[in-house]
Symmetry: C2
């Protein structure tokens, strides 16, 4: 049970776009370089995000990508749902996938779990996720400074 590189890269891509929201389109090339992800692969990932209306693109010389709405208005469930094709178990989306569905008790736990996952991802916006990172880097910086100032502790 792991989440794919596609979804992970997609989230990172969206976080970069969120951090640059409001300053025009930015190049995939730059995101790829900064995030150390293959530009070509990222190019495949951004297509469905654009298709779903989360991202706007412009082609040509001064093209690039930008978020279609504010970072606070895009949550992680939206991103992951687009990039992470299949759900936990097939019989949730498609009950006809298994003849045992009607009496299957184990299916209940996967539905419950799927709900929790959606709930968790849906509760965090790009804005909030970036804020979490900012706080982390700030405390990291402070700790490093303290260490330098007071090396005994």
């Amino acid at each position: 049970m792991k989440i794919s590189a596609k979804a992970r890269y997609g989230v990172r891509l969206m976080m970069v776009l969120a951090r640059n929201y409001g300053s025009g389109p930015i190049f995939l090339k730059d995101i790829a370089k900064k995030e150390e992800i293959s530009e070509k692969y990222l190019g495949q990932i951004v297509i469905p995000l654009r298709g779903a209306g989360l991202v706007l693109s412009s082609r040509g010389a001064h093209g690039g990508y930008m978020l279609a709405r504010e970072p606070s208005e895009i949550n992680l469930k939206q991103i992951v749902d687009i990039l992470e094709g299949d759900c936990l178990v097939r019989c949730i989306k498609d009950p006809s996938a298994c003849t045992r569905v009607r009496t299957c008790a184990s299916r209940d736990i996967w539905m419950l779990l799927g709900g929790k996952i959606s709930e968790t991802l849906g509760s965090v916006s790009l804005a909030e996720l970036n804020d979490m990172g900012r706080r982390k880097m700030a405390t990291g910086r402070r700790r490093r400074i303290m260490k330098r100032e007071n090396p005994e502790r």
Copy 2:
């Protein structure tokens, strides 16, 4: 993001053992037939469960498998952790897997999600899961009877 057949089958296997708790060991063959799972494959799945001390086995003519403790004392996180090899993202278990760990903000969301998943699976015991199924079958039966008695509705 899906959970493997191995983990799904393992949970179903454990649910059967839970329903038969207290009445001696039961054969894998019977579980496999009832649950419509390959007996050989189930044989591979039960090994790590036994290794982790969740299941007891006895070999020979009247052998079989049984739970090592009460169904209320075994939860789904224990089962899934054993059968579902890798976690959401590798850098959670092994921070050295990625050089970006220290500043990576997206890692936070995967840790948060992983925690929620553990929490959810850890909160449901085999006993409770079987009870959920029992209730479902009871209402299913009642609905069917009502339907027969009052077909117009």
